[in-house]
C-alpha cells in the first residue's frame, strides 16, 4: 500500500463513514422494528431521542461520503506520475480489478447518499417524523454498500504498488477497448448529441413546468435521472472530444487535469448535483400529503427543481461553449 496522504485520508474517511453507518444502521433496524409514534413507551421515547442523534451523525457522515467521490478521483489523478503507462486517473484506476468497480460503487453511493440527505432534510423539518420509516429503510440499503465500498477501497489501495505497469487512457477509452470504457467510446456521436440536447431540453421544460404549476414531478424527476445517465455517457462519447480537440481521445478523466483548466470538476459537480437534486425531487413525491410534509415538501421540491435546472443548465452551457469554441469539427 502507498502511504500517500490522500490515500490515507480516503481510507480513514471511508472507515469513519462505515463505522458511523454501522452504528446508524443498527439503530435504524431497531427503529424499523419497534417504531410506534402513538406509543409512549420507554423504548419509543428512547428511539425518538436516538433518531435525532443518528440523523445528525449521518448528515455529516454522508456529506463526507459525497466529498469522498471527488477525493477518490483526485487521488487517482494525482498518483498517475508514479505508474508507468498511466497518463491520468484512468490508468491508475486500472491498476487492479478493484479500481473501476469501486468508482461505480462510489457514484451509486453518491446518488443514494444525496437522496438520503434530502429525505432527512425534509423529515427533520416535520414535527411528526413523517419520513422516518422510508429514511431508515434507505439508510439500511446504503449501509451495506458503504461497507462494501470500504472493503473495495482497502483491497484497491492494498494492491497499488509503484512497480505496476498499467494502461493509458488512450487504450482504455479507445475504439478497440473492451468493457464499459470501450462501450461508452463506441456510442455513436451524432445520436448521442441529439439525445443529450433533447433530454436536457425535456428536463428544463418539465422543470419549469413543475416549478410553476406544481405538477408533473414524476416526468421531471425521470427526465433528470435520464439526463444524468445520458450526460454522463455523452462526456465520453463526444463532449471530451471538443475539449481535447482530438477526434480519438475519449478519456473522461483527463478533463480533471490542469491542462484543461480542471473543467472536469465543475462538469462532474454540476452533473452529480443536478442528478441528486432531480432524483431527490422524485423521492419526495409520494410523501407530499403525509402529515406535516404537506407544507414542507412543495417548497423544498421547488428549490430542488431550481438546483437541478441550474446545475444542468451550467453543464449544458459549458458543453455548448466547448463545442462552439473548439477547433475540432466533427463531421457525420
Amino acid at each position: 500500500m502507498m502511504l500517500h496522504p490522500a490515500v490515507l485520508a480516503l481510507l480513514l474517511t471511508s472507515l469513519l463513514v462505515a463505522a458511523m453507518g454501522l452504528y446508524a444502521g443498527y439503530y435504524g433496524l431497531r427503529i424499523l422494528k419497534s417504531w410506534k409514534l402513538e406509543s409512549g413507551s420507554e423504548l419509543q421515547l428512547e428511539l425518538e431521542r436516538r433518531t435525532s442523534l443518528i440523523s445528525t451523525i449521518m448528515s455529516y457522515d454522508l456529506f463526507i461520503q459525497l466529498m469522498s467521490l471527488f477525493l477518490y478521483v483526485y487521488t487517482a489523478d494525482s498518483l498517475h506520475p508514479l505508474f508507468t503507462g498511466a497518463m491520468c486517473a484512468a490508468g491508475v484506476l486500472n491498476i487492479n480489478q478493484f479500481g473501476y468497480p469501486l468508482l461505480l460503487l462510489k457514484m451509486l453511493n453518491f446518488l443514494l447518499a444525496g437522496v438520503w440527505l434530502i429525505l432527512n432534510y425534509a423529515d427533520c423539518r416535520g414535527f411528526d417524523y413523517p419520513l422516518i420509516r422510508v429514511k431508515f429503510e434507505l439508510l439500511n440499503l446504503i449501509v451495506p454498500l458503504l461497507l462494501v465500498e470500504t472493503c473495495l477501497l482497502a483491497a484497491y489501495f492494498s494492491g497499488v504498488k509503484p512497480d505496476i505497469i498499467t494502461s493509458c487512457c488512450g487504450s482504455l477509452f479507445g475504439h478497440e477497448a473492451v468493457g464499459l470504457g470501450g462501450n461508452l467510446t463506441a456510442l455513436p456521436q451524432q445520436p448521442m448529441q441529439l439525445a443529450f440536447f433533447s433530454v436536457m431540453s425535456v428536463t428544463f421544460a418539465s422543470g419549469v413546468y413543475f416549478y410553476r404549476m406544481g405538477c408533473g414531478g414524476w416526468i421531471f424527476s425521470t427526465a433528470a435521472g435520464a439526463a444524468f445517465l445520458i450526460a454522463g455517457a455523452s462526456i465520453t462519447s463526444f463532449i471530451c472530444l471538443y475539449i481535447y480537440e482530438l477526434p480519438t481521445h475519449h478519456c473522461p478523466f483527463c478533463l480533471l487535469q490542469k491542462e484543461y483548466g480542471y473543467i472536469g470538476y465543475i462538469m462532474y459537480a454540476t452533473l452529480f448535483g443536478g442528478g441528486v437534486a432531480g432524483l431527490g425531487t422524485g423521492a419526495l413525491l409520494p410523501f407530499r400529503s403525509t402529515g406535516s410534509m404537506v407544507r414542507i415538501i412543495p417548497p423544498l421540491q421547488r428549490r430542488l427543481t431550481l438546483i437541478t435546472v441550474a446545475c444542468y443548465l451550467l453543464f449544458t452551457l459549458i458543453t455548448a461553449w466547448k463545442m462552439f469554441s473548439s477547433e475540432l469539427r466533427l463531421t457525420f
Partner: protein
C-alpha cells in the same frame, strides 16, 4: 386541555441510585383554569411541572395539548392536537418560548439589568420588532403597577416587586399556559395573597395556570379550580371545585 398519559420520569436508571421522580401519572388539566399540584418536597411536583413545560423530557408517557395554540411550524391548523413529548428540541424551543410562560421559585431575574430589559428578554428570540414588544412590556408593567420601576435595576426591588416582574416576564409572549413553581416560597402571607389575586386575574383573562406548591395560601385559595395531590411521584388524589 393538557392531557398527561402514563407519564414517568426516572433518574439514574440502571444504577444503584435509581430514583423515580414521577411514577405513571395520568391527568387532565382543563384550559383557562387554575390547577395546583400539591404535595410535600420530593413528591415530584417540580419534575412534573418541568415535563409539562417542555423543560425536561419524560422517561415514558405522552403529553397532548388539545385545542391549545402551540407554536409549531407546519401544523395543518391550530385545532390539530399536538403531542409534545415526541417533539425534537428545535420545536420544543419555540413551544417553550410562545406557549408557556414560567414563574420560578427564585424568580430567576437577571441582576444588573433593568426591570424592563428583564421583562423583554424572552421576546428577543421571537423575531418580533423590539418596539412592539417594548410597548407590550411597558403596558404589562403598567397593569401590574410596576411602570415607575421599569428603568430600575432588579436588585433594588422588594420581594413583591420581584414577584410582579417575574409574572410580567412570563406574560410577555402572551402564552396560553403559565407555569409557576413554588411562587410564594419566598413571600410573606400578604404578598402570597396578592400573588393569588394576580393569578385569578390571569385566569379570568383566559390563561391556563398550573402551580406547584405546598403553601396552604395557594392550594386553599378560592380561585383554585383543580387540586392534584402528589406523593412519592404518584397522584394520590385530585379534586375539582366545580
Amino acid at each position: 386541555m393538557i392531557e398527561l398519559s402514563s407519564l414517568s420520569k426516572v433518574f439514574n436508571d440502571g444504577r444503584s441510585n435509581r430514583f423515580v421522580a414521577v411514577d405513571d401519572v395520568s391527568l387532565v388539566i382543563m384550559p383557562r383554569q387554575l390547577t395546583v399540584l400539591k404535595g410535600p418536597s420530593g413528591s415530584g411536583k417540580t419534575t412534573l411541572l418541568s415535563i409539562i413545560g417542555c423543560m425536561a423530557r419524560p422517561t415514558s408517557g405522552r403529553i397532548y395539548l388539545r385545542d391549545i395554540p402551540a407554536a409549531l411550524p407546519y401544523r395543518r391548523d391550530d385545532s390539530e392536537n399536538v403531542e409534545i413529548t415526541s417533539l425534537q428540541e428545535r420545536f420544543l424551543t419555540e413551544i417553550r418560548r410562545r406557549t408557556f410562560g414560567f414563574i420560578f421559585q427564585q424568580f430567576n431575574l437577571i441582576k444588573g439589568i433593568s426591570v424592563l430589559e428583564n421583562v423583554m428578554l424572552p421576546a428577543y428570540p421571537t423575531g418580533e420588532a423590539r418596539s412592539a414588544f417594548r410597548t407590550r412590556a411597558l403596558d404589562l408593567l403598567g397593569q401590574f403597577g410596576m411602570e415607575r420601576h421599569a428603568g430600575q435595576k432588579v436588585e433594588l426591588l422588594s420581594g413583591g416587586e420581584l414577584q410582579r416582574t417575574a409574572i410580567v416576564r412570563a406574560l410577555i409572549n402572551d402564552p396560553a399556559i403559565i407555569i409557576a413553581d413554588e411562587p410564594t416560597a419566598h413571600l410573606d402571607s400578604k404578598l402570597s395573597l396578592e400573588f393569588m389575586e394576580r393569578v385569578e386575574q390571569l385566569k379570568s383573562n383566559g390563561t391556563t395556570v398550573i402551580i406547584a406548591s405546598h403553601d396552604p395560601l395557594v392550594y386553599d385559595a378560592a380561585s383554585v379550580d383543580s387540586l392534584v395531590e402528589m406523593r412519592n411521584g404518584k397522584v394520590v388524589g385530585s379534586r375539582s371545585r366545580q
